[in-house]
Symmetry: D2
Subunit: 392 residues, 4 copies
């Protein structure tokens, strides 16, 4: 039974690790290096960091006689785990031309092989190992999405507007009747339950009282958002949160990220190059500030994360991270894990807003209705969208 589990786990491990590498295929060596903004990490860093996670939290502790691939990689590829030790400043990840891309792939291969050895050696504490492995795999899946969004951001800044992933398709909206769904007031259960994996921030299933409300079964389209722009949505301070308005003026944002108006027509940068905007496609790359201003313009509001979760079985989701009107805060019985792993989620619970759902860039099998994603309200570079709600 355990062997069987282990075998499955290993297959899953290798599949996910290979998926990361499949994302790299269209890249040139040069593409792995730049970090054009602090919130972006270079592809090479994603490749190394996800690998380091397995080395640091599994191999070094559980594989007897394990020899690290390179003594300085822990310093290079640690992200924010203070307990693990010093690390390269986040803003300096784009400086690291060495190790080469080739060496990082060798690092991946080395760690994959050692993980394989470990799991094939009938280790004693198999349950703990599987828990850690599962965390590592989910961590890698998160970075798969960041790999895509970060790469898109970097390439978009290039005046050549490169077409790097030519097969990327503009997604058609998910099926919807374009209806308002009505939810009655009452007590709803919120949070993860079941056997599978979830993050610590989803745990502590608990009750929330919701007053009756309505929520759309569709996500806002580009066409709807263009109407907002054409109605001077970006010029009317009364629609914006105060800090949103300050952000808009200082950053000079006047459209979703990657949009550009050329001779009266909207275009947008995609991983397949510049494309004319498909008005029927689902809106993407808006900040929380824009989402909130749009909702205000509509005379509606964003749903809370609880309203979203309570209604989520009644609509299709999964192509956009949907901004909610909930701040990222702990559930009533939230408890951090012991040690460095405890730095995974809890310490970010301030000044960020919760996003629910998943996006076109989310890895396969890495979404569930209780998943709590979170970003600062000014970020646009994820595949973010808008679902509206209203109290009744």
């Amino acid at each position: 039974m355990e062997l069987f589990t282990t075998h499955d786990t290993l297959v899953r491990y290798l599949e996910i690790r290979n998926y990361t590498e499949s994302l790299c295929e269209p890249l040139h060596t040069e593409d792995y290096i730049p970090q054009p903004a602090v919130f972006v990490s270079p592809p090479k860093w994603h490749l190394g960091h996800t690998t380091w996670f397995f080395e640091e939290f599994i191999l070094k502790k559980h594989l007897g006689g394990y020899k690290v691939f390179h003594p300085k990689f822990s310093f290079l590829f640690n992200s924010y785990y203070n307990l693990v030790g010093d690390r390269v400043e986040r803003a300096n990840r784009g400086v690291l031309t060495r190790p080469s891309v080739k060496e990082v792939f060798e690092y991946r291969k080395y760690v994959d092989q050692k993980i394989t050895e470990l799991f094939q050696s009938n280790p004693e504490n198999i349950n703990e190992l599987e828990t850690l492995l599962e965390l590592g795999l989910n961590h890698e899946q998160q970075h798969q999405e960041l790999f895509i969004t970060d790469t898109k951001y970097t390439l978009s800044l290039n005046p050549l507007k490169p077409e790097v992933y030519p097969n990327t398709k503009i997604n058609k909206p998910l099926e919807a009747k374009k209806q308002w769904l009505k939810l009655d007031e009452g007590i709803y259960d919120i949070g993860f339950e079941g056997d599978g994996f979830c993050y610590d921030n989803e745990l502590g299933r608990h009750k929330v009282f919701l007053h009756s409300y309505e929520i759309t079964d569709w996500l806002v389209t580009n066409r709807e958002y263009v109407q907002f722009i054409e109605d001077d949505g970006y010029e009317r301070f009364d629609l914006w949160l105060d800090e949103g308005w300050a952000w808009r003026k200082e950053s000079e944002v006047d459209a979703p990220l990657y949009w550009k108006k050329i001779e009266g027509k909207w275009f947008t940068y995609t991983l397949a190059g510049m494309k004319e905007l498909d008005l029927d496609a689902t809106l993407s790359h808006v900040s929380y500030y824009e989402a909130a201003a749009f909702a205000e313009w509509k005379g509606m509001r964003l749903p809370t994360e609880f309203e979203w979760e309570a209604a989520s079985d009644q609509f299709n989701w999964g192509t956009r991270w949907e901004w909610t009107n909930s701040a990222y805060l702990p559930y009533p019985k939230f408890a951090k894990a012991e040690g460095a792993i405890g730095e995974y989620n809890g310490k970010f619970m301030i000044n960020q807003m919760v996003l629910r759902g998943a996006s076109v860039a989310t890895s396969p099998n890495h979404s569930r209705k209780t998943y709590r994603n979170f970003f600062h309200p000014h970020y646009q570079w994820q595949f973010t969208g808008i679902r509206l709600a209203r109290s009744i």
Copy 2:
């Protein structure tokens, strides 16, 4: 009946207006001018701004033939009401040496006289006027507290450590049994009800489900907080939120605002000058980041604003604004008022945390258990304190 009401209203108006001026008594003319930080406003500006509020929203609209005291004062004393027009940049309030302090007091007298005339003239829309007047008075009371905290902040930066309000007393803690109060799980009603005044952000009384929890009947004392410091609380990143830790390092904060250790003893700046720290007094002037780190160190947490309100009849409060673990967000049916008044609260509902209670600097009759105060998590200059909670 109306006349009677009007008379009462006027008496109340004049009492509150006079209270503002009584706060000025110990100040020198020089003290009215500086703005040492963007979040602080000069006393002169508070005096003018609160007066402008009555002029702008009441006299200009409701007193026939009203002539503004000075045509440029609207520009000088508007705070953040975009709908009312241009205004002096917030950061430049400390530049305005003219109008003189004397002129601003004359402006107050002029407006007070006109308000008196208006209310004694048996105006038709007396209810609407009283609503606006009530808002203006509550607004002035809010600025009375800011007047005190801003003045304290400015004076504290002076190496002479002036003793400006010599009669200021160190408050003894509110009476408490130092017990944990237990609240059962269930549905609680949250939000304002009744006939008196409240802000729009308290409205929409609604139901919230709370799981069972405990909350202290006392506020953290200086002695308890000194233990946190002595246990290296400011040096242990694992106790802090990530952005809290960044704030601590960048701002080099290692104690509550105004604390200074001199030859092994803690002193604190008060409006009566530097005083040795009373260890039995209630802690004050901590940021949300410090409050959260302290709670983490205790193995507990801060209450949510709902837990606070639900339990508030069971403990004494009113000497410290108490940080809660709730972000400042709208209640389910929150609706902004029409026009410029609608800018009062709603547009600040991002990146701020809710504080409940009231403080020693809060004006008389300006507190209630449903009051939602809010500040960014790094601010220390209000009289802020800590009450602990825990899930059970």
Copy 3:
């Protein structure tokens, strides 16, 4: 003889000290406080700092039993003399509401009285004392000019555009034939000679070889400068130094400081309020960047400080500090004085340009042709002007 000298010195001392106080007459108490920019100091600080100079460098060392007026004033009113000890950060001078303006005037009176006592007591080292006193008086005269330019800057930011010095006159240009003066190539002597006072940076009279050149006998007028503006001088990057162009774009400067175009006409803020620009008056309040761009537009250049000094007997000067094309650097045999006094000039010899002449704000008897004033190239707030030159 010495007594006689001492008497003259004392008369001169009191005259200069009184002149400072005469500048204060039109000010309100409020005007003494603000510091709207780091490069500006509040009037109260000028009053205290110049007084501190006499206390620190003369009374404390030379008047037996001297008791300082206040033990903390040295901390408050030291400017940049590291050797003297800690001091209030330059950017925080606007916070100091205490000591009151009245106390600072008492401080002045106290120090004046003690200086009088000292000089009337037949001190032994009278020569050294007179040297220090002379330095202190010239220092005070420099601050008299800064008092005026700083006050003008602060008042200009007030939307009320106060008319504080109503008797201030727009100066007519100095008499000139509007001719180009020709100087032959040869060796010229540069630097101070004679018995009177000069700063250390003027000393070390030395020879400079100049190639033949021409220089105007007049200063650029507002009319000439308006032509530059109307010829798109602020829009043509090819006229500007690279850092000047960056400054222009970032600061959004498009005219001299205090100029404002209202309905097609130029106005300028003066200490007597807003006035229509007199096109025949001498241009003022331009940065070095603007002066250099203007000269480039004319196809000419600014004179070096040596060309200016060599020609200075041939033209009238004294209403504007004239930007030269010389960087502020030491003369060949420059030597810093010993001790804190040595911090007066030498340590500023980097990244600043020399200005020659004097301005309408310069104190009486505080100018000479060898005087080397210096400011960073982007500053506009002194009474700065332009004289053109060309090689032949």
Copy 4:
């Protein structure tokens, strides 16, 4: 005769172009990308920019029917020539992963071939072309030096401290008798004369009067500089220029760039990796601020650029750019060239100090005693050193 000249020119062209590429040999593709600071450019950018110079100023104007290699390369590889059009912001050069390194090498090959065609086609205006070509070649040589200093800077930030150019040798000091050379007062001729190439800023040979002075025939060694450090040179504000002291504190510099003290011994990063500091080697990588503080500590001073040039036949130079005490300003008859080429030098004549000599990174045949290099006073990343002088 002309054909012969052309042949020589072409040989020289190809030699210099090949030398650039020889510098690339030890680099990995990854190394071509990062820009860790605004003042640094990525190697790929240097390769493209120098090539663009020939395309823009020669091929597009003089080779009939010339087709640009890529229509967007002008935008990508223009540096600061406003007249040529828009360009990538200087700070964003590190984002450009595309074109690939390979394409940039193809671009070089294409332009080299077209230049060859042009010069072999017996063009009419051969003199003008040779002048432009000579400028382009000197421009490329300047970038060869920047290529080396920028690459060193980027690699130094890598915690792996890569050994990229293993054959790099620590230079022994130039031969010197360690004597002071005495120069008599008199008129000296300064500036370029002769037939060869020079920059416009060296032209206008003119007379300068120098008072008698002495200058060393050696450059300051690491040993001498370590004495300065050990005598608390970095802690004594009285040795520093005011802005130098501010720079030192803010940047936390306490040694030359690349120096690191490990267990009591000084090490330094070189292109061959970390090496123990050779105390007898010539000091390198100091800012002007450090050079000036060191000279002050010695009780001496830096020479002016005129003193340097007048004495330069009497000492060996060429391994360090030597900071002088002269600001970068125009010679008396300086005139900018017409058009974009005129942006080469003149517009930088503010806030920079002149360096004379050449360094170990300077390209062969790219130095002469009249050469005027210039940098802002805080930069350390060139191979800069110190020669002392004193007035007598």
